[in-house]
């Protein structure tokens, strides 16, 4: 039972989710008697191959073409589908990033096979891949079983498995091929990209997230949220209510209609914990809630609940954190 992991990288640095999936695939392939291959489509196989050392990856299948340097769905899927047909892996794991989700679904269609999207857990039972994924706003979890003959395409959420970190040892063997891409493969051209302003780390990748809700009372209090997030090296999230009210832009929204996040630490400030919000963050490792209302639903899932006035507690907290660091700047 051979596993492939589609490598997600940025400017020659593999993303943590790549290591997470390689390491998990190695566990499963080891138990099921198969090997793990990394599929590198960006043409930067030479640069990144060493970063795949120590993860249990037997080989890197590098499909090269100038048209693949920058991610675009059609040429990546065409190249990947050809490689899958040539090598017939049983499972193809794809990081469930925005582009990864689009890629995985398109790849499954190209191969006329099934998909489990946004898996939070993958396992093998009796030679079959099983993928768990949340449904109905995270209130239920489905276990998807692949019943067809084709390869199992599965997109897996970042942080579903812990990042083993950069490994040491020999880099995987490189199997390099050229992609044969016709004009039909080139159906989109990226005109531009504007990075989110004032954000050193995006919500999905962040280890720490500080989120604000109605309870912070005023849009200008997002400054207080930002300061705490900055102090903890984290990103700023928000509830749907404050996004809908225009206090902060939509890319910050955490929840069923926003982003699903799984940081190590999630601090919910003035968020009551509507079920739609919980759907997007309840699998965070440690949840801290600060809220005036002791009966707020957020306290039911919080590891540490603080009942009190967020507008006072948060600035005090930031000040204390700064003092500990000895930065000395007054809050």
């Amino acid at each position: 039972m051979d596993f492939w992991v589609v490598v997600a990288e940025e400017h020659g640095t593999v993303k943590p989710v790549t290591r997470e999936l390689c390491a998990r695939a190695a566990e499963l392939a080891g138990a099921a008697g198969g090997k793990v291959s990394a599929l590198v489509l960006s043409g930067r196989g030479e640069e990144i191959n060493q970063q795949l050392a120590g993860l249990g990856v037997a080989q890197s299948i590098c499909v090269n073409s100038p048209e693949l340097r920058r991610y675009r769905t059609r040429p990546w899927v065409d190249a990947a589908a050809a490689a899958v047909r040539a090598h017939s892996p049983k499972v193809v794991l794809v990081p469930a990033t925005t582009n990864g989700r689009e890629f995985a679904a398109s790849l499954a269609a190209a191969l006329d096979t099934g998909i489990a999207a946004d898996a939070t857990e993958i396992a093998v039972d009796g030679g079959k891949l099983l993928a768990k994924r949340p449904v109905y706003g995270g209130r239920l979890v489905d276990t998807i079983e692949f019943t067809g003959d084709g390869p199992c395409i599965c997109s897996v959420r970042p942080k579903a498995y812990s990042d083993p970190g950069a490994g040491a040892g020999d880099a995987p063997a490189v199997v390099a091929t050229e992609a044969a891409l016709g004009p039909d493969s080139l159906d989109a051209e990226i005109l531009g990209f504007a990075a989110n302003e004032g954000e050193s780390v995006n919500l999905v990748d962040a280890d720490v997230i500080v989120s604000g809700g109605r309870g912070i009372q005023d849009p200008k209090n997002f400054e207080m949220i930002q300061q705490l997030a900055t102090e903890l090296g984290g990103a700023v999230g928000a509830s749907r209510a404050v996004v809908d009210a225009g206090w902060i832009p939509y890319p910050h929204q955490v929840g069923q209609t926003g982003k699903t996040v799984r940081p190590k630490l999630y601090i919910a400030v003035g968020i009551s914990g509507a079920i739609q919000h919980l759907a997007g963050m309840k699998t965070s490792e440690t949840i801290v809630a600060i809220n005036k209302d002791a009966a707020a639903p957020i306290f039911k899932i919080a590891n540490w609940g603080f009942v009190g006035d967020a507008l006072q507690i948060v600035p005090l907290l930031t000040k204390k954190l700064r003092e500990r660091k000895g930065a000395g700047s007054p809050a």
Binding site: T113, D118, V135, A188, I287, I313, L321
Partner: protein, 257 residues
């Protein structure tokens, strides 16, 4: 410009049954609604017609009640409605549904743009749209929050997409399938006149036989469970100063600082 909007009827907020960690199921105790994301797609389809002319057709795959969603789309202003209905399609997975919907779009004719919502609120896969696009050889564009220039004669469309770390602008070939986010527009309310007209408007019904497809699933839901409950947490009360101090201590304890 000829476009299609794919919509799905879902339960608005059904309750779930089961004990944490054990088997669970959805209870059909909630009203049926059009998947909220799909209304943004319907609105965008109507706006495209208003701007570029042509027509927009809503298609749904579902049981008898799914026609209600088609009526809603008609009331909002789509020109035509197609109900793909076949008992053989009841339990299809996304890959099977994508095959059926692709066939239905093919039967509608040469389409320039297909609009879909980014995902449905029930199973939240978000894969059917991209799969349909692939089957039809259309450019796939997900997470679209703004449609820019559309050059139907020149066969191109420009959109903005919302990625994790920023906004991407893409110029793509037509035909294209756009999966839209909730921020793209504000869906209009149907007018009273619109609702009255929609109630009488014809809805085309196609079966698997009409479409010439026998779709099959490649996956199945082997188990549905209620997630294990999080262990009960600690709750602290007191003066802000004490609470902030306690939180610092907890962050130290958790090795976050």
């Amino acid at each position: 410009m000829k476009s299609v909007v794919l919509i799905k009827q879902v339960q608005e907020a059904p309750s779930v049954q089961g004990e944490p960690g054990g088997p669970g199921k959805v209870v059909a105790d909630s009203q049926n609604v059009t998947n909220p994301y799909d209304l943004f797609a319907v609105e965008e389809g109507i706006r495209a017609r208003e701007k570029h002319g042509g027509e927009v057709t809503a298609i749904t795959l579902g049981g008898d009640t799914a026609v209600e969603s088609l009526r809603e789309a008609l009331a909002m202003g789509v020109n035509g409605a197609v109900h793909v209905k076949d008992a053989a399609f009841d339990e299809l997975d996304s890959s099977g549904a994508a095959r059926v919907l692709a066939a239905a779009i093919g039967k509608v004719g040469e389409v320039d743009v297909v609009f879909v919502g980014k995902a449905t609120i029930d199973t939240n896969m978000g894969v059917t749209g991209p799969m349909v696009a692939r089957h039809l050889g259309m450019t796939v564009l997900t997470e679209v929050f703004e449609v820019g220039e559309v050059d139907v004669a020149g066969r191109s469309i420009t959109v903005k997409r919302l990625l994790e770390d920023g906004l991407q602008e893409v110029k793509a070939k037509l035909p294209a399938l756009l999966a839209v986010t909730k921020d793209i527009n504000e869906p209009r309310y149907a007018s009273l006149l619109g609702i009255r007209k929609a109630a009488k408007a014809p809805v085309t019904v196609w079966s698997g036989g009409d479409l010439g497809v026998t779709a099959t699933s490649a996956t199945r839901v082997a188990a549905r469970t209620v997630p294990a409950a999080r262990p009960a947490g600690e709750q602290f009360q007191g003066e802000p100063e004490e609470l902030a101090e306690k939180l610092v201590a907890k962050l130290v304890e958790g090795k976050f600082i």
